[in-house]
Symmetry: C2
Subunit: 370 residues, 2 copies
């Protein structure tokens, strides 16, 4: 809407509008930076959460050693703010390998591999572009999504990378996305990650190869990363904004959630229900992982309400447990379940300073799927 | 990715890529046009499915009487191809009402209302802009999402609209989205819709008000619309492309699905699994309504495979029941569960003619949430 550009304050923003509380974002970034510094860990934030040069710039200013992306299109958008980019995603096809090889002309470009097919495709692209791509072997540490399963498989790939012209063996990457326990219960699963990484590192060493970078990830485990002593760096993404997945998992309090969707109540025609002007095209239909029954987000002003169903543009809210029912035309603020795909649905998001000033932030890498 | 612009044929497209089979789209549009013409029904396609001026243009060429949108931002994008736009969504806030009133200067602009608050907000905006907005009373016919519940409630709103300067009472709108039965079993629930609409029409008539337009919707019920004799027009959206929701609901065969996402296998590191380069940011995480256990879409080349889990950019495929396992680097074609939010995630989609030529289509109204 044209009005979007003219909004001067929060009350004027056409809804639904994703608004970031600047103070909370800065606090989230600083808290992780302090932790990482205390434990001598690098931070390479995953930019899939914000997809924004502006937010990435704040992370770099706070000491991030580089940025993580999932796609070449994201790397292309974010290269302006970082000298060192890691694509934590396998590149096996011509388009991605070629894109990485071209970025590697002007930036330190790194990528993961979990197949010899991928290593060979990367090497061919790097040779063709006459550039050098850094490669990390991706190891599965329990999630069973991508990544080689064993230390010996990791060694075989490391040797292939080491011997490939155009590639530079940079280390090992893992994603402990299977660890969903409470912070207090993470020591044992993180110890298992540590054992698995050390086994690979030792095996590499016997063959004269070293893992200069050992990269871990995930927001739920971020502040326990020191328990994996092999890590040289971490790649959390969600921590910058947080969301109901993180709150209900017990990893942060509600007041650390920086992103809210301001919605308008558009209907109260059905008993014990109101309808918000945000649905799956605003929030995503992702349920809350740790509490699937909790509905599609948390309404700050009506904590007893439950967003019970989403259509594409309608959010149906069960208000039967609320003392007061929101009125048609009233605005409410929703903390989404999963902020990463939610940001990816917005054309623009809003940066709200404590003085009430608003800045429009472009979601630069939105929709960059390749 | 830059390569996207240079792709000359299907094999060169960077993946994931949403490709439309032009012949199937044209056939789907023509089939509904023929049906509607036989039954003297207008078609006002819901453009939420494609959000594209190009596809909307094909629907208008085939005889559509106008277009349906859910948001003012969509109407702004699509006004170039239609003289008559209907926003099938309540407008109650200043931004939306003002946006509609402005569009009404150059187009026939219609919108629904299910609250007196909404009618008053629309009237104020129309008076302020010195334009006329057509309003339809939205009635709930069983879905219990939005819409007034009773004929007498509909009359009260109709009278308010009729008496409001700046508004024009255009009729009644309903969305029978609760009807998910097979086509053979739709006669009874559609008869109930018919009774409810007729009751309101009769009550209006007693007060001297007539419903010039009686607008129904939904792709599952589209070809049974003649069973609701009150309908003057229908607003299906998904029919133009179809998807696994429509196939598994029994409303069309697989060969009527016009949209496929071409994906590349990026990993086979985990036993009995391969990983595709499309996840919830490509497909949406919407499950298949009529078959939740079927996974996140249908892989045409591997019908025994099951897309068992989506992360944001990873599609984990269980291939344990497949005779042959797809190889890393291989491309497969996926029919998504729910094509409407899936298209909304793409920056561009591809129009494939029978001769192999490709045309890039902009998703013009993508992300227009207000």
């Amino acid at each position: 809407m044209k009005d979007l550009d003219q909004a001067r304050n929060l009350a004027e923003l056409p809804t639904p509008a994703l608004v970031l509380d600047a103070a909370i974002v800065r606090r989230n970034i600083q808290r992780l930076a302090t932790y990482a510094s205390q434990h001598n860990l690098g931070i390479r934030p995953h930019t899939k959460t914000h997809k924004s040069r502006f937010i990435a710039g704040l992370q770099i200013e706070a000491g991030a050693i580089g940025l993580t992306v999932a796609k070449v299109g994201e790397a292309e958008q974010l290269q302006a703010v970082a000298e060192d980019l890691l694509m934590a995603y396998p590149a096996v096809d011509l388009a991605r390998c070629k894109g990485l090889a071209e970025l590697a002309h002007s930036r330190t470009m790194r990528v993961v591999a979990d197949s010899s097919f991928g290593v060979e495709a990367l090497a061919a692209a790097a040779q063709s572009a006459n550039s050098t791509i850094g490669v990390l072997v991706e190891m599965d540490v329990g999630m069973k999504r991508v990544g080689v399963a064993t230390a010996s498989d990791s060694l075989a790939l490391a040797q292939l990378i080491d011997q490939s012209r155009g590639l530079r063996l940079d280390g090992i990457l893992c994603y402990p996305g299977h660890i969903g326990q409470s912070v207090e219960q993470q020591a044992a699963p993180l110890a298992a990650v540590s054992v698995k990484l050390q086994e690979a590192i030792d095996l590499w060493a016997k063959s004269g190869l070293s893992a200069g970078i050992v990269s871990g990830g995930s927001t739920p485990t971020a502040f326990q990363s020191h328990l994996v002593k092999e890590y040289t760096e971490i790649r959390p993404g969600t921590y910058v904004f947080n969301d109901m997945n993180i709150v209900r998992g017990g990893y942060c309090p509600l007041e650390d959630c920086a992103a809210q969707i301001i919605c308008t109540v558009v209907s109260d025609a059905v008993e014990s229900q109101v309808v918000l002007d945000g649905g799956s095209k605003t929030f995503t239909s992702d349920l809350c992982g740790p509490a699937k029954e909790s509905g599609h987000g948390h309404i700050i002003e009506y904590p007893a309400a439950r967003i019970s169903a989403l259509s594409e543009e309608h959010g149906q809210v069960d208000v039967s447990r609320c003392e007061k029912r929101p009125k048609v035309g009233e605005r409410v603020s929703v903390i989404p379940n999963h902020i990463c795909p939610c940001v990816n649905l917005q054309d623009a998001i809003w940066w709200l300073e404590a003085d009430g000033s608003l800045r429009k932030i472009t979601v630069d890498a939105r929709g960059k799927l390749s």
